[in-house]
């Protein structure tokens, strides 16, 4: 009689132990994966930011001759590119990205005032390519923010927060667009 009860107690404790250990391992691995996914999604943004920065000198060269009255915009674009190339941290790169996106928006908007430029095939190709990169960047920023959001929710929810504290994981920052970047650019004809 007593042996039977002991066997049941042992099996129950065994299942309980296996359950707890498996659950903790799955939380642990899940959090590490989430953290790495954030790094990966940032790296995927960085690739596109670099691609776009590489296209900017060609764009500036193609519009310089036509847009003599927009030297301020072109200077801002060059500055923003330099800021991106000198940026080391993610917030610095994000700030430079916002500057580039905003200036590009202005540049493409004011290009409407220059019919000769709009007829330039090289400019049109660059505009299409850069706009394509901009669209992909928008998707990847959204993806990055979703990854950060998933991670932040996990590390603040029980029981994941216990493991997150053991790993000293803290909240990650989302990729924020500046208020300037969100505004539509007015074009004056």
């Amino acid at each position: 009689m007593a042996i039977g009860i002991w066997i049941i107690v042992l099996v129950v404790l065994g299942l309980f132990g296996i359950g707890i250990v498996s659950y903790v391992i799955s939380i642990f691995n899940g959090l590490i994966r989430l953290k790495n996914d954030i790094k990966k999604s940032w790296a995927n943004i960085d690739v596109l930011l670099t691609q776009r920065a590489d296209e900017l000198p060609k764009l500036i060269a193609s519009v310089k001759g036509y847009m003599k009255h927009e030297s301020k915009t072109l200077t801002e674009l060059t500055k923003a590119r330099t800021a991106f190339l000198n940026a080391k941290t993610m917030p610095e790169k994000a700030a430079a990205d916002n500057m580039i996106s905003g200036t590009l928006k202005t540049l493409f908007a004011v290009s409407e005032n220059y019919p000769n430029l709009k007829a330039n095939e090289n400019f049109m190709q660059l505009q299409t390519r850069i706009s394509g990169i901009e669209n992909e960047l928008a998707d990847r920023r959204e993806f990055y923010n979703d990854s950060v959001n998933n991670y932040n929710i996990r590390i603040q929810s029980f029981p994941d927060l216990v493991v997150a504290r053991m790993l000293a994981y803290t909240e990650e920052q989302m990729f924020k667009a500046t208020e300037e970047g969100k505004k539509d650019v007015k074009v004056e004809f």
Binding site: I5, I7, R33, N44, R140, R154
Partner: protein
């Protein structure tokens, strides 16, 4: 108390432990799906990706074997009712699948998908039962003939058989969790369209690859039930079987 054969009790104990462990695998899968955001196809990056979109044929379509519907993937099973002594059961006598590459399209772009080695979970599209006085349709008869199978017994009477078919048709909405990688069928720079440069496929490290016609919420709901059913059901089955074994052995 109705006596239970020891084989069933041992199977219950083993099956319970199996279910218990499997429950944790389902839980892990659920967490993985929850943690991966859905990518827009236009901007998918290499590696494990989750996408949702509509099926568009790539180069032609297949015909499903029983209902002859146009599709890009199908799987089927044939079951036969067999009797052995007092017992009878449905035995699966043939299963199979076939698929071809197809595009998945969302509101941003389209990407090529190779369903080979995917865990395809789609709802049943066609089912038919043949039996006494009920012949299978012509398409099934032809399929059976090609595969050297017969729906009639040696006495000329129809066997009791069931035919199930699952397929992915053009315009079906699919959820895919798989690896985006270079398309091994095109050389760099030789691709006609960019949409063919990258292909969603089984990862080289055999990562998870699933295709489902449910949306993410539906998949998560089903995995939650499976995980908790597996963990708690498995534990109850294990302990219940153990208690009866111990009673039979007079240890309780």
């Amino acid at each position: 108390m109705i006596p239970i054969h020891p084989v069933y009790l041992i199977a219950g104990f083993g099956g319970g432990i199996f279910l218990f462990i499997k429950g944790f695998f389902w839980l892990k899968k659920k967490r993985l799906i929850e943690n991966i955001p859905t990518s827009k196809i236009r901007s998918i990056a290499m590696g494990l990706v989750e996408v949702y979109g509509e099926v568009v044929p790539w180069k032609g379509v297949l015909k499903s074997p029983f209902s002859n519907k146009e599709c890009v993937y199908y799987k089927f099973s044939i079951q036969e009712h067999r009797r052995t002594g007092k017992h009878s059961s449905w035995v699966t006598v043939k299963t199979g699948e076939a698929g071809m590459r197809f595009y998945l399209k969302d509101n941003t772009d389209k990407v090529l998908v190779d369903p080979t080695e995917a865990d395809v979970n789609v709802s049943q599209d066609y089912a038919f039962s043949s039996g006494f006085g009920k012949d299978p349709p012509l398409a099934i008869k032809q399929f059976l003939k090609v595969n050297n199978m017969n729906f009639e017994s040696f006495l000329g009477l129809n066997k009791q058989m069931k035919y199930h078919e699952y397929f992915i048709a053009p315009k079906d909405k699919l959820y895919i969790l798989g690896t985006a990688d270079d398309n091994p069928f095109v050389k760099d720079g030789n691709s006609i369209k960019n949409a063919e440069d990258i292909m969603i496929q089984k990862g080289k490290n055999k990562e998870i690859y699933m295709i489902s016609d449910k949306d993410e919420k539906g998949i998560l709901r089903s995995l939650t039930w499976k995980a908790f059913g597996g963990i708690f059901g498995g534990a109850v089955l294990t302990i219940g079987s153990l208690i009866i074994i111990l009673i039979d052995l007079k240890l309780l």
